[in-house]
Structure formats: structure tokens, C-alpha cells
């Protein structure tokens, strides 16, 4: 958070009034004109860079993938519901893209550093697609990354173990490293392929 900003009541009133008026009038700003299946940010912001341990044994930074389109997701390998579906969807989307998939990089950052050590992440991700790269680090490092990306992860005790409730969306980052879109959980490989194609053509 940056510093708080204060305004005079009269200014606030005018600004809020204008906002309400614009909503009442239902301005024709988009009319569903976007070709993206994902939610689109305007203006896009630069993806915050980070330094984590990559599942390939090297340092993982998001800035390493400039020139490629990145799918950035957060989860953990023991996840039984969301993550397997999301990662399988990524793999199918890449297959749909054919040769163009060489310019798409999937980055999967764990929320469970205790179990998701680099070697384990590598094995887990390879089951979906050998090009996927995972990232792990200390609790503090991963917490910082999640905060930068607005991602939540809550550890929940389960019997003699634990599970996580975590954000299930995926960020789409363009070739210049800007966060262009956010795909909610549940979209099809075709939707991903559609949006990736748009970004790859830029």
C-alpha cells in the first residue's frame, strides 16, 4: 500500500457523483468488445520481478522470460482439485498452439515450500508438460511474491497433515513482461489458446 490520499468532501462528492452517474447511464465503453476470454487489465502493469529457486535447478525470475508469453499460476503439488485441472489445461492449450507453444512458458509458484522442494516440483510438473517450470523459496520469499501479485494462500490443518486454500486464477504476461490478463479457474484449453494466440501475435 502506498500512502493514504485524502480529498476534500466536495471533490469526493463530485467524483463519486460522476462515477454513479456514469454507471447509471451505462456508458458504452466496451460492449463485450474484448477478444480475450480472460479478464483484461487496463492499463497493464509490469509483472513484479522475483527471485526464487527454480525446479530446473536454476534461479527463477519472471524477467527471464521476456520475449515469451507467460502463464503464471500459484498452487501446490498436493492440491487434489484445482492445480491438476489447471496444469492439465495449460498442457492442452500448449498442444493446441502447435509450434507457437515454444514461445509460451508456464511458471508455477508453490504456496507450500515445505513439501514442494525443487526436485519434487520438477517431477510433479513433468507429469503435465516437461517445459513447465516451478518456483519455490522460503515462506517469507513466497509470501512477498504472493503479496505483489494479490494472491492468497491459507494453510488449513487436515487430519494429521494440512492443505491450502489458495487463489486459483492464472496471470497472462505478455512478451514485454506486463500483466495483461487474469484467467479465472475453470476456463477451457481453447480459451487459453485463444488468449495466448492474441498475445503471441503482438
Amino acid at each position: 500500500m502506498t500512502d493514504a490520499h485524502t480529498t476534500t468532501p466536495s471533490l469526493s462528492r463530485r467524483v463519486f457523483g460522476a462515477a454513479i452517474l456514469s454507471m447509471l447511464l451505462v456508458g458504452a465503453s466496451s460492449a463485450g468488445a474484448t477478444a480475450f476470454k480472460a479478464g483484461v487489465f487496463d492499463p497493464p502493469r509490469q509483472a513484479p520481478d522475483f527471485s526464487l529457486q527454480g525446479s530446473d535447478g536454476h534461479e527463477l525470475r519472471i524477467s527471464l522470460f521476456r520475449g515469451k508469453v507467460v502463464l503464471l499460476a500459484f498452487g501446490y503439488s498436493s492440491c487434489t482439485e484445482v492445480c491438476p485441472v489447471t496444469l492439465a489445461t495449460f498442457a492442452q492449450a500448449r498442444r493446441k498452439l502447435g509450434a507457437a507453444a515454444a514461445n509460451v512458458q508456464v511458471v508455477y509458484v508453490t504456496v507450500d515450500p515445505q513439501r514442494d522442494v525443487p526436485e519434487h516440483l520438477k517431477k510433479f510438473l513433468a507429469a503435465f508438460d516437461s517445459t513447465f517450470i516451478g518456483g519455490t523459496g522460503t515462506e517469507a520469499q513466497l509470501g512477498t511474491v504472493r503479496k505483489q501479485y494479490g494472491v492468497t494462500a491459507t494453510k488449513i490443518p487436515y487430519e494429521d497433515s494440512y492443505t491450502y486454500a489458495h487463489s486459483s486464477f492464472t496471470y497472462l504476461i505478455d512478451r514485454t513482461g506486463r500483466i495483461r490478463a487474469l484467467m479465472p479457474y475453470g476456463h477451457s484449453p481453447g480459451d487459453y489458446a485463444n488468449d495466448l494466440s492474441i498475445l503471441l501475435k503482438e
Binding site: 500500500m1 502506498t2 500512502d3 493514504a4 490520499h5 485524502t6 480529498t7 468532501p9 471533490l11 469526493s12 462528492r13 467524483v15 463519486f16 457523483g17 462515477a19 454513479i20 456514469s22 454507471m23 447509471l24 451505462v26 456508458g27 458504452a28 465503453s29 466496451s30 460492449a31 463485450g32 474484448t34 480475450f36 476470454k37 480472460a38 479478464g39 483484461v40 487489465f41 487496463d42 492499463p43 502493469r45 501479485y149 494479490g150 492468497t152 486454500a165 487463489s167 486459483s168 486464477f169 487474469l182 479465472p184 475453470g186
Partner: protein, 147 residues
């Protein structure tokens, strides 16, 4: 007099049931006004985004979130920078659940209804729209009264 009123009511009902649904925009817009964060910090409970949003396929099926405040905000499912907007289209009628730390429940639900194709659905949609606009107006009055 009574007959005229009844005739008008029936006419309005017939129009509501039969006239095709048309919207100038498919956006359902929610904005964080400037100064919201400061108000929250001073203890004012400012609710911008309801925890349950209803959209209608083909008519009002694009969720638009805008952060007009001067600080980053978690808004719906995402972190938004000052001045940034987020436009999320929906293409399937369903109930979508998003994690949203801005709500006490920790969730935001978006219900996307099918296109109102029959008379009853059209009346229902128009009633909801009227209710929505009335709610916006009363929210505006409430906000002004807090200033």
C-alpha cells in the same frame, strides 16, 4: 380514470414482457472512488463491491472493476493498481465463486443468468435492472450523507 390506469399498467407489463432486451453496454461497472482507502483507515465502513453480483448473458455479462483510488486495492478477485481497470467477460451461465479478501466471507459470487428469452424472464430482468439502479441511487445518497 381507473380504467386508464389499469390500461397503462397492462401496457407497461406487455411491453416489459414482449419488447426485446437491449442494453447500450454489456458492462456491469463497479468503482472504488478516490479517497476510499483513507475513509476505511478512519474507521468508515465503505462497501463498494457486493459479495453477490448478478449478470445476464448477452445483455450484461461483462464485469468491470475500476480502482479510482490513489492506492492499490484488492478488488474482487484481483489486485488493482491506482487508475487501473479490470474487464472480465462471461460466456457461460453459471455461478462463479472468487476469493475476495475485501469481503468478510472471503468470497465473491458472480451469478450469470441465461439470456432472458421468454416474457417472464424479460420482466424479471427489467425488474432487476430497476432495482439495481435504485440501489445505486440510494448508495449515492448514503455516500453523500456521510460526507
Amino acid at each position: 380514470m381507473l380504467a386508464a390506469l389499469a390500461g397503462s399498467a397492462l401496457g407497461a407489463l406487455a411491453w416489459g414482457a414482449m419488447a426485446p432486451i437491449h442494453a447500450d453496454s454489456r458492462d456491469r461497472i463497479f468503482e472504488i472512488p478516490r479517497g476510499t482507502w483513507a475513509r476505511r483507515m478512519s474507521g468508515d465502513k465503505v462497501e463498494i463491491l457486493p459479495d453477490h453480483i448478478r449478470l445476464t448473458l448477452g445483455v450484461r455479462d461483462v464485469l468491470v472493476l475500476r480502482n479510482r483510488d490513489a492506492v492499490p486495492q484488492i478488488f474482487g478477485p484481483t489486485l488493482m493498481m491506482p487508475g487501473q481497470s479490470f474487464q472480465l467477460p462471461f460466456e457461460q451461465p453459471a455461478v462463479y465463486t472468487f476469493t475476495c479478501t475485501a469481503h468478510a466471507s472471503g468470497q465473491m459470487i458472480v451469478s450469470v443468468d441465461p439470456y432472458p428469452a421468454n416474457p417472464w424472464a424479460r420482466i424479471s430482468w427489467r425488474t432487476q435492472e430497476l432495482w439495481w439502479r435504485a440501489r445505486l441511487f440510494t448508495t449515492h445518497l448514503w455516500y453523500r450523507s456521510r460526507l
